[in-house]
């Protein structure tokens, strides 16, 4: 069978291979010492926090995801040598430095409300009903300082409070839901869940259903794609793989 090349899968596989696998320790020139939950480890320099912890022997089953800085799973907290400030970031995107104190922060177990958008009014009162802590914001900006995406988190919380759904949706759009804002908030707000509810309300009520989506749904309901779908379903596994790999992909930006 002809070898199938899929560049996307290769990139992910490469990223998941430890940066030092296959390299002999004696060939590594630069080493740093880090402290993981109070214990010192010598690791090669120039690794990310994630790779450094893995080198030290930690195995992540949860608390890790895409390793590309997108998914928000590997949120972590650390302190640099000689600094008093606790800092936050994504373990896969932050470089380990000599003397760094590291910890594993796997997940923020925040309460998430359950709601039916279609039964709620388009108003700030909905956000306050499901997440009343929003009203406790003291504008300290700790959330913004914690955000690894550099979002203006406090600004969007304030927008939520006054029902400015457009600002809430646009300011929070790049949120990866890592939970660091909620971990640091002195007012116990779960910023990213508030933002998600806000974006949903904005999408449902503020933006309305776009014309092209309406048209496409009509086409689907009229069966325009039924035949094509039947063809795909009938493919063998090999044929399906060939078609998938050979599909048109949007060019890299």
């Amino acid at each position: 069978m002809e070898e199938i090349k899929n560049p996307v899968m290769d990139i992910i596989a490469e990223a998941n291979r430890s940066a030092t696998s296959g390299i002999d320790a004696k060939d590594i020139k630069d080493w740093i010492t880090i402290s993981i939950m109070g214990r010192a480890y010598k690791v090669p320099a120039d690794l990310t926090i994630l790779a450094a912890m893995e080198y030290a022997g930690y195995k992540f089953v949860r608390g890790v995801g895409c390793r590309q800085g997108f998914c928000g799973a590997c949120a972590t907290v650390f302190r640099k040598k000689g600094e008093y400030k606790l800092q936050t970031g994504m373990a896969c995107g932050t470089r380990a430095e000599d003397g760094m104190h590291l910890a594993q922060i796997p997940f923020t177990p925040a309460e998430k409300a359950s709601y039916d958008l279609t039964k709620e009014p388009y108003s700030a009162s909905v956000l306050i009903k499901y997440y009343p802590e929003v009203a406790r914001c003291v504008s300290c900006n700790t959330c913004t300082k914690a955000c690894p995406q550099d979002l203006e988190v406090m600004d969007y919380v304030q927008a939520a409070l006054r029902g400015d759904f457009e600002l809430l949706a646009t300011d929070s759009f790049d949120c990866i839901q890592c939970g660091l804002c909620a971990l640091r908030c002195p007012s116990e707000i779960v910023q990213y869940h508030v933002a998600q509810l806000g974006r949903r309300l904005y999408g449902y009520y503020g933006l309305g259903v776009p014309e092209h989506l309406k048209k496409r749904v009509e086409e689907i309901e009229k069966g325009r794609y039924a035949k094509a779908l039947d063809t795909v379903i009938a493919f063998s596994n090999d044929e399906l793989r060939k078609q998938y790999v050979g599909r048109d992909i949007e060019p890299e930006q």
Partner: protein
């Protein structure tokens, strides 16, 4: 507003930093829309602070509770930024409409201006912001009217409100404590001065600064309805047909709680509660769309029709 008009303001009008607050963006939109339009009729452009946050809601009285003043001070930094960015020109005043926002920010400002250590601590905490220099003046919209002069208010009137009997209601937040008061805290006159300039018959009642019940309205509707009954009842007995105020919380307690008042007292006669700026916009003859009576609980339309004050 058109660009041409915007440009005209930069040449002739007063552009002043304006803090709306959360309530004016949600349940008191009628206050904001009428105030912005009324101010324009006076040649004043209320320029909304960019990236403003909640005022802090209530001024914290605890000596060591600096965190609850951060919100206020952060807003004052926005005024410094507006001056630097050219949104306003050498304007250190910041106008508020909501009495509660006024009170909270005025007192936080006073506190840090009188205490160098406070201001340093707050500036340190907000290290991402520029330092607050302590030069912003928090003023209420009514103070701005006094500063430009009631004569100017009177000259802007296109259709005076003669015959309309209105009782000014001050509440506490623009009068107390004394150091935050915009007027004589015992015998305030500023609302009456504005109402007189608009041509209304001003009805002064001894209940014009009795507490409306404030946040008790959340868990003790009856207590607040009792206060509303007294305040509105005395206004009615003194001959008033309506109330004018500047506080969204007072307005809520006097207006919306009339539902509970009427349930308790079958003979109670409903009384419209206006924001002073709604009456200003009405007298200045601006587009009546800004009055937004849909957000008033007691419909003022029949009363205004009786006095032939509405366009349609």
């Amino acid at each position: 507003m058109s660009d041409a008009k915007d440009f005209a303001f930069t040449l002739t009008g007063l552009r002043i930093p304006y803090f709306p607050g959360c309530t004016l963006k949600t349940t008191a939109q009628n206050f904001e829309s009428s105030a912005v339009a009324a101010a324009r009729a006076l040649g004043i452009e209320l320029v909304e602070l960019p990236r403003w946050n909640c005022c802090g809601t209530v001024f914290s009285l605890a000596a060591d509770d600096l965190i609850h003043h951060v919100a206020s001070i952060r807003n004052l930094i926005r005024v410094q930024e507006m001056n630097r960015q050219g949104l306003v020109d050498g304007e250190n005043r910041m106008v508020t409409l909501c009495s509660m926002c006024y009170n909270t920010m005025k007192r936080a400002n006073l506190r840090v201006r009188q205490n160098a250590e406070d201001i340093k601590k707050i500036n340190d905490l907000m290290y991402r912001e520029e330092d607050y220099q302590g030069n912003v003046r928090v003023i209420h919209f009514l103070e701005l009217l006094r500063e430009i002069g009631m004569g100017k208010v009177k000259r802007a009137v296109k259709k005076d409100l003669a015959g309309l009997k209105v009782a000014p209601y001050y509440g506490c937040m623009i009068l107390r404590p004394k150091e935050a008061s915009i007027d004589d805290p015992e015998a305030p006159t500023v609302l009456g001065e504005v109402l007189r300039a608009l041509g209304t018959d001003v009805v002064v009642t001894p209940y014009n600064k009795v507490c409306c019940g404030s946040y008790q309205t959340v868990h003790d509707k009856d207590a607040v309805a009792g206060l509303a009954y007294d305040i509105l009842g005395h206004a009615r007995k003194s001959g008033a047909e309506a109330i004018a105020t500047t506080c969204p919380l007072c307005a809520f307690n006097l207006d919306n709680r009339q539902k509970e008042v009427a349930e308790k007292h079958p003979d109670f006669e409903h009384m419209p509660v206006f924001y002073i700026t709604q009456l200003m916009a009405l007298a200045f003859g601006v587009d009546q769309g800004v009055l937004r009576f849909d957000q008033n609980y007691v419909d003022p339309v029949p009363l205004l029709k009786k006095h032939s004050l509405l366009d349609k």
